[in-house]
């Protein structure tokens, strides 16, 4: 038995042990936060508490989270430029796939829209909708329908930063009318939030899709193939 496994086993055991100890011996404290959320929900502009937390109470987290996603795409761009991409193995010209996409694609767009809209009242929201958009894009890409060299245009980068930009703009707008950063006036809260979510959906969708697009699978060198087979 090699030391690495032993070490892994020990660490795993310790972690689980500690967590178990922590879970079982948890102190009972008075929790008020959920009530606070419920109390302020009416002023948050949406009726779904999770969305309220995400896009109003703790909207800064969401703002930075979009930054994280954008960051990943930026790195993908940077690395793509250091190595030119040969023709990849995607775009299998498959009749059936094309037919399915013809049915699925509009449906996916529709569902994405619905999810976005539903976010205000029940589970759903920008990320789920964006993920669906990205999936639709991936389907197209797999079917060989590639958006030419869109990836390298200013337009692509604009779509990527659109969500973050709108989010920032809304936050600054709130400051302009005398509030704190991202502090929506209660009357305007719901349109603001919806606008932000719309922008976020587009950017998230395109970001996820570009991540797929920018690191495509390629026919690998035999060396690599061998290693892959042995692990």
């Amino acid at each position: 038995m090699n030391p690495r496994t032993v070490c892994a086993a020990v660490m795993c055991g310790m972690l689980v042990g500690l967590l178990g100890l922590a879970i079982t011996m948890r102190p009972e404290a008075v929790i008020t936060l959920p009530e606070r959320v419920a109390a302020e929900l009416s002023r948050s502009g949406v009726s779904h508490p999770v969305t309220a937390v995400l896009l109003n109470f703790r909207s800064l987290d969401t703002l930075l989270e979009i930054g994280v996603l954008l960051l990943a795409v930026v790195v993908a761009y940077a690395l793509r430029e250091t190595q030119a991409d040969p023709a990849d193995r995607m775009g299998l010209d498959n009749r059936l796939l094309h037919a399915v996409i013809a049915w699925l694609f509009p449906l996916m767009l529709l569902v994405a829209g619905y999810l976005l809209w539903a976010g205000a009242t029940r589970p759903g929201g920008a990320f789920q909708a964006g993920a669906l958009l990205a999936a639709a894009g991936v389907l197209l890409r797999l079917a060989g329908i590639r958006p030419s060299d869109f990836a390298h245009t200013l337009g692509a980068r604009a779509v990527l930063v659109f969500g973050l930009a709108v989010f920032l703009a809304v936050g600054l707008g709130a400051m302009a009318v005398g509030g704190h950063f991202l502090e929506y006036p209660p009357a305007w809260a719901s349109p603001f939030i919806f606008g932000v979510e719309l922008a976020l959906m587009l950017s998230i969708g395109f970001a996820l899709f570009s991540l797929f697009e920018l690191a495509p699978p390629h026919p690998v060198s035999n060396k690599g193939a061998r290693e892959r087979s042995e692990t």
């Binding site: 086993a9 689980v16 937390v53």
Partner: protein, 98 residues
């Protein structure tokens, strides 16, 4: 045991599992998967522990949503770099693990 607590325990188990895989595996893809398992464990703990005997709590759910996006971004970044590394070196492990 409330089912929320069951989530917490499952989360703890997943964390242990993920950590084990993360350490024991050398193939970068496996390590990445292990990381994601561990991440799911964390999220389960976060939600389960907070809701044990207190009813639903939107805050941890929102946190987990944010956490998922972050985890997705990190995984995607890792995959991007991993692909480039694989194409340059033809290796699927870090040099010291080869």
């Amino acid at each position: 045991m409330s089912n929320a607590l069951l989530f917490a325990w499952t989360g703890a188990a997943l964390c242990g599992l993920g950590l084990f895989g993360f350490i024991v595996h050398k193939h970068l893809m496996r390590r990445l998967l292990a990381f994601n398992i561990m991440g799911s464990g964390c999220f389960l703990m976060l939600v389960g522990l907070a809701q044990d005997g207190r009813g639903p709590d939107p805050i941890p759910q929102a946190l987990v949503l944010t956490g998922i996006v972050v985890a997705v971004a990190s995984t995607a970044l890792a995959l991007v770099i991993f692909r480039r590394w694989f194409r340059l070196s033809g290796k699927v492990r870090l040099p010291e693990d080869a």
